[in-house]
């Protein structure tokens, strides 16, 4: 088994605000992230997969397929977009990076079999860097 990690980038804006809370509570909870017109980040996404190395090709993952999957379902829909208004999942969810990791996981899983027909490679980990100081990671 080998683990392969690929890094992708997208820049997007968001605003952290929940209708469950009052304006004052939102401002208190989310601080600067609640400023009314939003703000943006240069996100760095790491997708890790594991699998056996095919003895013929010498690869554990069809890299062009992984790139196409992530590009189509994550990078293109998020790149230079406002997450709150342009990504449907965030109509009802606050686009915190925790929730963004979950949305990325949902999107990758929902479309995985269209790109990888067999049981390998397996999606192992999603790691999202919101800023150089804020990192979010989920092992699947």
């Amino acid at each position: 088994m080998i683990r392969l990690t690929r890094r992708y980038r997208f820049s997007a804006s968001h605003r952290l605000h929940s209708d469950r809370f009052s304006a004052a509570e939102n401002a208190d909870l989310y601080g600067k992230c609640n400023h009314p017109y939003g703000h943006g980040h240069d996100y760095v996404l790491e997708v890790s997969v594991t699998g056996p190395v095919d003895p013929k090709s010498g690869t554990a993952v069809l890299l062009p397929a992984l790139d196409e999957l992530v590009d189509k379902w994550i990078v293109q829909p998020f790149e230079h977009r406002d997450l709150n208004t342009e990504v449907p999942e965030f109509a009802q969810r606050v686009p915190t990076s925790e929730n963004l990791v979950d949305v990325i996981e949902e999107r990758l899983k929902a479309n995985w079999t269209a790109y990888f027909a067999s049981q390998w490679p397996r999606l192992e980990k999603i790691r999202l860097q919101e800023t150089q100081r804020n990192l979010f990671e989920r092992t699947i």
Binding site: I2, P52, K56, S57, G58, T59, A60, L63, P64
Partner: protein, 140 residues
Amino acid sequence: MLITRKAEFSASHVCARPDWSEEQNRLVYGAAANPHGHGHNYSLEVTLEGEPDPATGMIFDLKALKEIVNHQVIDALDHRHLNKEVKPFDHIVPTVENVAIEIWNRLAPQFPAGGPAKLRNVRLYETDDLYVDYAGGELS
């Protein structure tokens, strides 16, 4: 406890199988199949596991580790065309997976059972945005 030593080498390669069509190679390897080759600044992280010697306070002499990595890996791969100059890549495709496995195979005998430290992981960056981790063991 783990200790990790980093090293770099630059090399060129082609990822393609001569018994496959150009179309098949492009599907599996993408631009890496371009026939005249291309190069990368590879970055290697060699991780050892052990407990500090009570007398020296060290798991493994880092000077010795540097020499092992240089002698077994860097001297053989740096500024070489992997397919043409480095075995076994005359008959095995030098994907990032296979290069990492070959590096493991070159390093592992240097850390025999009963020694002060065991080889725990080889991480090989082909670019900043693509790396693999190999910790030995079954490949399939």
